[in-house]
């Protein structure tokens, strides 16, 4: 019988399958690094994994704590600086990058800066970090949204997707042809972007999610792929790898805190008894 999987595992594995062998990948912390490690271990052994801090060609052994975490690997091939990591992306040497999303519109434009009025925000979020530059110049960008929202109009425009749709990204003359978001992964499904209109459409639904469940989060009339089906199931090999590599990603943040606190309490108890 095939192994059962968690929703987080499904997301990681779906993202990992977007990475091809021999590609150069910029990874962020969390889901992206686990996806990168999985891809490198299973189907893309020659992929070059990079972090924007200047860690180039690393093989993660444990999930990094942040994007400058050389503790996560045993050495790496090339130590450069942040400036050069971005200009190598500018020059077209980065195939794939991953970005998290707080608000997204139908053309894949992204807000990760503020909810509400920028000057008096309801929520002040992280800001651009590497996002606005990476999505501008990486050949493909994979977007992930866990807890964010679909909106008609972004509260703050942080990172450029397909602008006003159609050929507007290309007409802007600022971006390499063919670049832009290639996929949005949410906790409910997989979205892609129409080749002509560049409008987002639903490509896959995760297990237990109906199209109606997904539609009710989206303020516009969502288009659905003709061949929409359930997200491809992970293989046992993929699930086994993720559980060994990133158990805390597998259980999710809430359960990690619960079990971690219990573990800390147990250690304190052992000390008192001992």
């Amino acid at each position: 019988m095939a192994k059962k999987y968690t929703l987080d595992e499904l997301l990681i594995i779906t993202a990992a399958r977007e990475i091809h062998d021999y590609e150069n990948i910029i990874l962020g912390v969390g889901l992206p690094t686990t996806a990168g490690a999985l891809a490198k271990a299973i189907h893309a052994p020659h992929a070059t994994l990079m972090m924007e801090s200047g860690i180039i060609d690393f093989e993660p052994l444990v999930p990094p704590n942040h994007i400058a975490d050389a503790h996560s690997c045993r050495g790496f091939s090339y130590a450069t600086d942040l400036f050069s990591a971005f200009t190598m992306t500018y020059r077209g040497f980065v195939d794939v990058c991953f970005l998290g999303v707080a608000q997204i519109d139908k053309y894949g434009n992204i807000n990760t800066t503020a909810i509400g009025d920028y000057y008096k925000p309801k929520l002040r979020l992280t800001g651009s970090g590497g996002a606005a530059d990476f999505i501008s110049y990486a050949r493909r960008t994979i977007l992930t949204m866990r807890g964010g929202e679909f909106v008609d109009k972004l509260d703050y425009f942080t990172s450029p997707g397909y602008l006003d749709g159609g050929d507007s990204r290309e007409r802007a003359g600022l971006f390499p042809p063919g670049s832009g978001p290639s996929m949005l992964l949410t906790t409910k499904g997989v979205f892609r972007f129409d080749e002509q209109t560049k409008e987002m459409y639903l490509a896959r639904t995760h297990p237990g999610m109906s199209i109606d469940d997904i539609r009710k989060d989206i303020p516009w009339e969502l288009k659905i792929a003709d061949d929409v089906s359930t997200t491809d199931r992970p293989t046992d090999e993929e699930i086994t790898f993720i559980r060994r590599f990133a158990p805390t990603e597998v259980v999710g943040r809430k359960l990690m805190f619960e079990l971690g606190l219990a573990n800390a309490a147990r250690k304190a108890q052992e000390k008192n008894n001992g």
């Binding site: 095939a2 192994k3 059962k4 999987y5 968690t6 929703l7 499904l10 150069n24 052994p45 020659h46 070059t48 860690i55 180039i56 060609d57 052994l61 444990v62 999930p63 050389a70 503790h71 996560s72 045993r74 050495g75 790496f76 091939s77 090339y78 130590a79 450069t80 400036f83 050069s84 200009t87 500018y90 020059r91 040497f93 297990p207 237990g208 199931r233 992970p234 559980r243 060994r244 590599f245 990133a246 158990p247 805390t248 597998v250 259980v251 999710g252 359960l255 990690m256 079990l259 971690g260 219990a262 573990n263 147990r266 250690k267």
Partner: protein, 348 residues
């Protein structure tokens, strides 16, 4: 990584595959440890019409110009054999009208490579030389040798140089792995910028090392594998120039070269013997040993003075401790899977 990705080949194949007639070619090395064997191989293959970039054109530029490979030269400093009588291949070619040269300062030349490396179309440089003939006298680059713009913040005139994006860089380093990660130490000069500005990169090295040597010393890597086209292992590949940690400058051989280079006939005779007369570096070293014996090479072999190792270690390389418990959660994989099942978190 597998053998499939190996870029190792000999100098002959590397040059014939990646250096073409009419290329813009940059010598990555700056003053020390030049890629002598790659330059010799370009000459032996009769490559013509190069636009040659060299930060400081000494031995390497002389042989390439003397070999008739170069139509145009971009540099900051060229060799002269001494006094009014001592000529050079560059001087003879300029006089004969077979070579055009654009003069830059060291900083400007390096700035052109930095712009190319980072994908910028130009770079701001220091304003002083704007009043000199460096600015006024121009050859094949014409208006595009320099352009002056107005600073949008101060309103001042700013001198700029265009990015250099050579077709191919040839460069000699101490060591590399077979994938192309190239490690170089000593005087950094403009080596990394010259290589990274280029479209193709051909590396020669004193030795090819295992990938884990690179992984445990990433701060020494100046060119990452994904940029590199060919890796050529050539011991003594920079001779008669020097490679830190391997050998010193061969002062005797160097002097003999420069005496020969005072005249066109002299240089031709030297090149007939040492470039055309030796089909590769092995033959060159054999010829050298035959002529001078091993003593002269042994005298310039480097004695070891190792840098202190940098510790790239971390506390652990797995999320699971020695009892197979997850370090944060304090449970085994089986226990974790049981909890996921109990909490109804599993699908499929």
């Amino acid at each position: 990584m597998s053998e499939k990705q190996s870029k190792v080949m000999n100098a002959k194949d590397a040059v014939s595959r990646f250096v073409h007639d009419g290329d813009h070619l940059v010598i990555g090395n700056y003053t020390v440890g030049t890629c002598a064997e790659l330059a010799f191989e370009i000459i032996r293959q009769g490559i013509k019409g190069l636009t040659l970039y060299s930060q400081s054109g000494v031995f390497d530029v002389e042989v390439l110009v003397g070999g008739g490979c170069v139509d145009r030269l971009v540099s900051t400093y060229v060799y002269r054999a001494g006094g009014k009588e001592g000529g050079s291949a560059v001087e003879r070619a300029i006089k004969a009208g077979t070579l055009e040269m654009e003069d830059y300062t060291n900083f400007q030349y390096n700035a052109r490579m930095e712009a190319g490396k980072h994908g910028f179309s130009f770079m701001q440089v220091l304003e002083g030389p704007m009043v000199t003939d460096l600015f006024k006298k121009r050859t094949f680059m014409g208006d595009d040798k320099y352009r002056v713009i107005t600073c949008p913040y101060t309103g001042k005139d700013i001198l700029t140089v265009p990015a250099a994006t050579p077709d191919v860089c040839i460069v000699h380093v101490q060591r590399a792995d077979r994938f192309g990660n190239a490690q170089y130490w000593g005087a950094l000069g403009s080596v990394a910028a010259a290589a990274l500005a280029s479209k193709r990169i051909v590396i020669s090295c004193e030795e090819i090392v295992e990938h884990d040597v690179i992984q445990s010393s990433p701060h020494l890597t100046i060119i990452p594998a994904y940029r590199v086209d060919a890796v050529v292992e050539v011991p003594w590949g920079a001779h008669p120039t020097e490679v830190l940690g391997y050998y010193n400058l061969d002062r005797l051989m160097y002097a003999m070269f420069f005496i020969s280079d005072m005249t066109g006939d002299g240089l031709k005779a030297w090149m007939d013997e040492w470039v055309y007369g030796c089909r590769n570096r092995e033959a060159y070293i054999d010829h050298y040993l035959e002529k001078f014996g091993a003593g002269m090479l042994n005298d310039i072999r480097a004695k070891s003075y190792f840098s202190a190792p940098a510790n790239y270690g971390s506390a652990f390389t797995s999320c699971w401790d020695l009892e197979d418990k997850e370090r944060t959660l304090g449970i085994t994989l089986e226990e974790m899977e049981k909890i996921l099942e109990e909490r109804g978190m599993l699908y499929g």
